[in-house]
Symmetry: C2
Subunit: 210 residues, 2 copies
Amino acid sequence: MNDQSSKKGETKEVIVEAARQLFFEQGYTATGIAQILKRSEVNSGSLYYFFPTKEDLLAAVLERYKGMLWPMVLEPAYTRVTDPIERIFAVLHGYRMLLLGTDFRLGCPIGNLALEMSNSHPQVRNLVVENFNGWRAAIAQLITEASDRLPQDIDAESMSFFVLATMEGAVMLARAHQDISPFDSAINSLRDQFDRLIQDGSTWSTPKGA
Amino acid sequence: MNDQSSKKGETKEVIVEAARQLFFEQGYTATGIAQILKRSEVNSGSLYYFFPTKEDLLAAVLERYKGMLWPMVLEPAYTRVTDPIERIFAVLHGYRMLLLGTDFRLGCPIGNLALEMSNSHPQVRNLVVENFNGWRAAIAQLITEASDRLPQDIDAESMSFFVLATMEGAVMLARAHQDISPFDSAINSLRDQFDRLIQDGSTWSTPKGA
DNA sequence: GTCTATAACTCGATAGAC
DNA sequence: GTCTATCGAGTTATAGAC
């Protein structure tokens, strides 16, 4: 129970949070250590005590994102609605709100890093994949929960890739256009897809005309 | 018809092409002017004679991409197949080949820049949108050509956003995973969507059982 | 664990001769 | 239009006292 040194033991977390915000807003390469020091109000010596390299700091940020999936992405959506299909679109609605609430400056932090870092940094790429997998696992679970309404040959894993891909692309287009309508077009088409799957799936489980 | 100075008048193009490649491989921020000079075998003075700032060079790269849409993306796909729906998926197949052929290092250059630059650089963002619009216009045209097989309420413009979003997300996921299966999952789901639309659309134009 | 000072280097961009 | 030399600021990271 030693108290380490001066304040609380929160310095490390303060650094990670400042870095997370700046990487989100500007990207990894475009963010300098000096900026992170300024926003976290920490000195260079402390930062490098915890994170020997900038890439180690990015790894910590991506670990933090894994812990944010439930409280920041899933839980708010699951609270609003209970139907599994509706929960999928409630999750997507969260990104819509983020785009609108930040004037299209913030979209999906993992998607940003995925495209920026996929080539060069293997460890980072791995953490990006872990974040994607966590997100997809939740979507796949919801699809499985709704499987009695869907055609039998629907694969939840494959479908979760489709939902994630469409979301990431939709966020990208809305940010580029600085307009929500590309996002809405893509997500409405995805909704249409689910509607048609449910129609087809229901022909053998709960026929509409029977 | 004056010959300007030394070699041919190709210096400017050589610079743009070197910059295009490096921005594609590494991103804009991560690419230094020195690297561009090295790959193009041009000296600093020449580069800054044509492009006063790095951002001006990026703008020229994005203009070049507009000119590459037909010869590099559309024409190869249109040559292989003639059916409009098949042409859409032939275009998408081109990205699949690029991913596999570069071991997932290269995906969509416009998508990369869209996420990296959308916040900070307005002129660049505009050129990104123009590139997206050119791509979507081609897809929307193909959807219109196939409209006799699709439900009447299908909007080609909206659908083109959906196709582009899914493609961009699919490329992102394949690059992050360094595996083509996320791409295939997403594109196969998109194909499934078109199949279902054609089934529904054909019930009023060319009924299967009639 | 935190502080200040700074090393070692790269960045985008410029100057001025040719 | 192209050349070389370089500026000034910014970069990641380190050293050593406390």
